[in-house]
């Protein structure tokens, strides 16, 4: 039989003024199963908690109801007190007679009657509570970082420097990401590679980091602390253990006319190549799609010249499997493909800007390569068509961004800053040239950002035109940029036409190709644009809704370098926090399946936001499959109960908010 203790708190005057607490205690004393009911000024005070502890021991209570403030306020307090007296903390419930009663009602009779009912509800609930025990989950102290751009590098280094193991997976032959492509960075104009490459080297040398480049995550299963990750190591055709990185193979490779991805097509590379001089690891791969040996079977020069015999045409993709405790996703961004449009997303391109048609219409990353000392022009701003220094350059912002009609509705955020930087760099290198910038707004919120833009305009003389460009066409070897200057009125209607030598489009930032597939492998959410979804936009911007998976950098939303680095360090801190003990302890509010009655429709699986429903096969003695039934992975379950309400046969229940409990609570309201 239940032996319930009820403790009515006055909360000083807060409850006592409107609720007749002695009367509530007297009524509660008459409820079936209640063996002890008292009221007291401050239940949460030491003496108040002492009363509860004493009663638990003296009256051998099997459950406790504290009628006081909101359980969101003091439930932990009273549960702890119960635990200290030897009662399982989950056998304690609170009736909220302050926030939900005394503070919101004025008439004492009504408030007291309501308080009595609220106590009755919790008495009936607690009679059906069961002792629950925190769920312990072991933690594998090894993190996986997906993506070796600046965010991934930062996260990996922070975790590794925190003393934990890291596996870093990068799909390209080298880590470094887009930051390695940049010339200088705003607002300080320090050289991007100069600040990045030491960190890349640190990654490669770090004893706690295992680096897999030219590799992709094949599959992920498991849950927080216990992921099983399979990684595909794509066939490099080069044995990186043997390879010394001497570069002879690339020098001798006869296939030299392949547009370089690193140089955004402005420079050329060979079929066996390292993406750039400072690549980490500095070991080449063979681009099988362009290699003569792979295309025709003839050639084999690189194998012949390799002094250590590292070239291996027969190499195949291999797989490694890693036990992982936490995952940081840092897959970064790409630029909006405005030439082809993004048909998969139902977005048209900007054919009117002539990209692909006119060699001298380039995008922001191409400009970076032109301005970079390691770039195809050695840092000279020369136009791609004829290699001449452009006298007039037009920069167009918001190409694809902030364009609901044929682009993306969001602001790509970094363009205002990098276009200012581009204009500045251009002026520094082509002193007599003119830089025009078409803009919608200037968004330069950031430390020293607005000052930077002002410098571009005021010191370096960039001409900012507020308006949009409607069309670009050629006249002779010039590009005619036709647009509107909305600040100009008059008969011309603000129409402007600029004769330019080169046009730079600040195209929108997009998440990397394949992000949706990766998100599905990881069971994390993504928005309509493919950006990965954080657990809470304000308070949990680094976590995902899948416990143990964190986000860093532009995969979560548009970001500049300092923001990406900051989030990466945040993710690393989350991982280190998770790894700070050998076991995870979770509140035991989880769902449970009655497998003997489950019919395996798996609606529960479909409504579970955490992929906590697993399938289990039931077999008879002869090994024949009898049924497939659902099973809750308590490590993943967050206890929302969506599965319970979806189950037609009531074959799932939620600990702490069970069917029996709710049934009786409603009954308590008669």
């Amino acid at each position: 039989m239940a032996r319930i203790g009820v403790f009515i708190c006055w909360c000083g005057e807060n409850i006592g003024r409107t609720v007749d607490c002695p009367k509530v205690a007297a009524e509660a004393g008459g409820f079936p199963g209640v063996v002890h009911a008292v009221d007291y000024k401050y239940m949460c005070s030491d003496p108040g908690q002492g009363m509860i502890k004493d009663a638990i021991k003296e009256k051998k209570l099997t459950g406790v109801v504290v009628a006081a403030c909101s359980p969101r306020m003091h439930e932990p307090t009273f549960r702890r007190a119960c635990a200290e007296a030897g009662l399982n903390p989950f056998l304690c419930e609170m009736a909220n007679i302050r926030e939900h009663c005394s503070w919101v009602h004025e008439e004492k009779g009504d408030a007291t009657a309501k308080a009595v009912q609220l106590v009755r509800v919790m008495v009936e609930k607690v009679k059906r509570n069961e002792a629950l025990f925190p769920i312990k989950v072991p933690v594998t102290k090894r993190a996986l970082v997906i993506g070796g751009g600046i965010a991934g590098i930062q996260a990996a280094l922070d975790i590794a420097n925190g003393g934990q193991k890291v596996v870093l997976v990068e799909k390209e032959p080298s880590i470094g990401g887009h930051m390695a492509q940049l010339s200088e960075t705003f607002p300080t104009l320090d050289c991007s590679q100069c600040i990045l490459t030491p960190r890349m080297v640190e990654v490669a040398a770090h004893p706690n980091i295992t680096l897999h480049t030219y590799a992709e995550v094949e599959s992920v299963s498991g849950f927080i602390g216990n992921f099983d990750v399979k990684i595909r190591l794509k066939a490099r055709s080069v044995d990186i253990k043997k390879c010394t990185g001497c570069g002879l193979c690339a020098q001798k490779c006869p296939q030299k006319k392949i547009p370089s991805e690193f140089d955004e097509g402005l420079g050329m590379r060979t079929a066996i190549y390292t993406p750039f001089a400072q690549a980490v690891p500095n070991k080449p791969v063979i681009d099988r799609a362009h290699c003569t040996k792979f295309l025709t079977g003839k050639c084999g020069v690189c194998q012949k010249v390799c002094p250590v015999g590292a070239v291996d045409y027969a190499q195949e993709d291999t797989f490694v499997e890693e036990k992982i405790g936490a995952i940081v996703v840092a897959t970064g961004y790409r630029l909006y493909d405005f030439r082809n449009g993004e048909k998969d997303y139902g977005i048209e391109g900007y054919g009117e800007y002539g990209y692909g048609q006119y060699k001298d219409v380039i995008d922001g990353l191409q400009f970076e390569r032109l301005a970079s000392a390691s770039g195809p022009t050695g840092g000279a701003i020369l136009r791609p068509s004829d290699g001449k220094a452009p006298e007039t350059v037009v920069f167009i912002k918001c190409v694809g961004s902030r364009d609901c009609a044929k682009g993306l509705s969001y602001c790509s955020k970094i363009c205002c800053m990098y276009i200012a930087k581009h204009a500045m760099l251009y002026k520094h290198k082509v002193h007599h040239g003119t830089a025009y910038v078409f803009y919608m707004d200037i968004r330069a919120g950031g430390k020293n950002y607005d000052e930077f833009v002002r410098r571009a305009i005021e010191e370096d003389g960039a001409v900012y035109i507020r308006g949009r460009v409607s069309r670009i066409y050629t006249r002779g070897d010039k590009l005619i940029v036709a647009g509107a200057d909305t600040l100009l009125g008059g008969a011309a209607g603000g129409r402007v036409e600029i004769e330019a030598d080169m046009v730079v489009l600040a195209t929108a930032m997009r998440p990397q190709y394949g992000i949706e597939a990766l998100a599905q492998k990881l069971s994390i959410g993504y928005d309509e644009y493919g950006f990965l979804t954080e657990a809470h936009p304000k308070l949990r911007p680094v976590e995902t809704n899948t416990a143990g998976i964190f986000l860093a950098g532009a995969c979560q939303g548009v970001k500049d370098i300092p923001e990406a680095v900051g989030q990466a360090s945040g993710a690393a801190a989350k991982v280190l926090g998770l790894f700070s003990s050998d076991q995870l302890e979770r509140e035991p509010i989880v769902a449970r399946v009655n497998q003997s009655q489950c019919v395996g429709c798996f609606y529960c699986e479909q409504v579970c936001p955490y992929h906590a429903i697993e399938r289990e096969e039931k077999r008879d003695k002869a090994g024949n499959l009898i049924a497939r039934v659902a099973k809750v992975n308590a490590g993943l379950c967050q206890g929302c109960g969506a599965c319970v309400a979806t189950c037609r046969s009531n074959s799932i229940d939620l600990d702490g908010f069970s069917e029996e409990q709710v049934f009786s609570e409603i009954g308590g309201l008669r």
Binding site: G30, F31, V34, S596, F663, S664, G667, G668, R670
Partner: protein
């Protein structure tokens, strides 16, 4: 000379009963079907259908009978179990319906005397109508009685030429009711009885021995596959009497109810362990037949079937107990019972040739 009730006086009879504060129950049309129900006025009586959808058993053994109600106090439980059924005239049942009452009397009274059943029985006067027609589901004659049998009735009305019923007072209760409502009856020379007898369709005597000998028989694996496992047959049956006693309530109190239950439900024999000794629908059908024609007969000397045909007319998949009894009759004729002491001969050739993929 005999006592007669002119057909046009039927309503007067009912009105008389109502005036004497009887609850009057009879066939009435509701939402397109004809049911036994309390009649609000004599005009609601509907004798269009050969047989009603429900049987009369629910006026003696209701689908849910409250045995007691209880209220939970702090330390004690308050119980109320007063029971006083209304005085009732039940008109319009058939000879098969009435016969079911005799069999139910034995069931509910052989050991513990079921207070609720017998109080309702005592309070009810049963006026039965002999049948002037039958349909293909009727088989009372196969069970050894007929459409003008008097068993279980207090008064039997036999339709006769001349738009009148011949009134047979069967019991004292019936005679008392006739005395109470004497105005509506007349004395006269009866016309010829208009009673229709269905033909006999199987040999009842062969059924029980065959069932006793053939607990395992391919029939069970082949003939009952379509059964959906609903309770229609058993709930419409005037004889099926299985019930479940449930406490229905919540934290304040509740009621202990005696509710109909059905051997055709998968949960009927489910053990707490999870084991179910009747795991397949076919095994539940076998139980239904054996209960009706073996166990009940052994215990009470009569079959728990009155041939009313309701289970046949209402089965959603047209599984007919009559067809199966005819089949068993044929089987029994093809493989007669062995003389005492001999080894059973087993199943007939036709069945032996069948290897079934079904398990029961």
């Amino acid at each position: 000379m005999a006592m007669l009730l002119a057909r046009k006086n039927l309503h007067a009879l009912l009105r008389g009963a109502m005036e004497k504060k009887y609850r009057v129950v009879g066939p009435t049309r509701t939402a397109g079907i004809v049911l036994f129900a309390e009649l609000s006025d004599p005009g609601a009586l509907c004798l269009d259908e050969l047989n009603t959808q429900n049987s009369i058993k629910e006026f003696f053994f209701p689908k849910s009978e409250t045995l007691l109600t209880y209220t939970l106090g702090k330390k004690d439980v308050a119980i109320a179990d007063d029971f006083a059924p209304p005085r009732t005239v039940l008109i319009g049942g058939r000879a098969c319906d009435a016969r079911s009452l005799v069999a139910l009397d034995r069931l509910f009274g052989w050991d513990y005397k079921d207070k609720f059943y017998f109080k309702r029985r005592e309070a009810t006067c049963v006026i039965t109508l002999a049948c002037d027609r039958f349909d293909e589901a009727c088989f009372c004659t196969s069970l050894g009685f007929g459409p003008r049998a008097t068993e279980g009735s207090d008064i039997l009305l036999v339709p006769a030429e001349g738009d009148a019923y011949i009134v047979e007072a069967v019991t004292d209760k019936g005679r008392a009711l006739i005395a109470e409502l004497e105005d509506v009856f007349t004395e006269g020379t009866p016309g010829a009885e208009k009673v229709a007898y269905p033909e006999k369709k199987f040999d009842l005597a062969a059924v029980k021995p065959w069932l006793e000998r053939n607990f395992d028989h391919p029939i069970w694996k082949e003939e009952f596959l379509s059964c959906l496992g609903c309770g229609t047959c058993t709930y419409q049956c005037p004889m099926c009497h299985c019930f479940d006693i449930v406490d229905e309530g919540d934290i304040h109190g509740g009621a202990r109810c005696k509710n109909w239950d059905s051997c055709q439900f998968a949960l009927f024999t489910l053990h707490t362990s999870g084991h179910n000794p009747r795991p397949a629908q076919a095994s539940r059908w076998r139980q239904r037949l054996r209960h009706k024609f073996v166990y009940y007969a052994d215990k009470f000397g009569t079959e728990a079937c009155v041939g009313c045909g309701r289970c046949i007319r209402n089965c959603p998949v047209r599984l007919s107990i009559l067809d199966k009894l005819v089949l068993i009759g044929r089987e029994a004729a093809a493989a007669p019972a062995p003389p005492a002491g001999a080894q059973p001969r087993g199943v007939t050739k036709r069945w032996r040739a069948t290897t079934s993929i079904f398990r029961i």
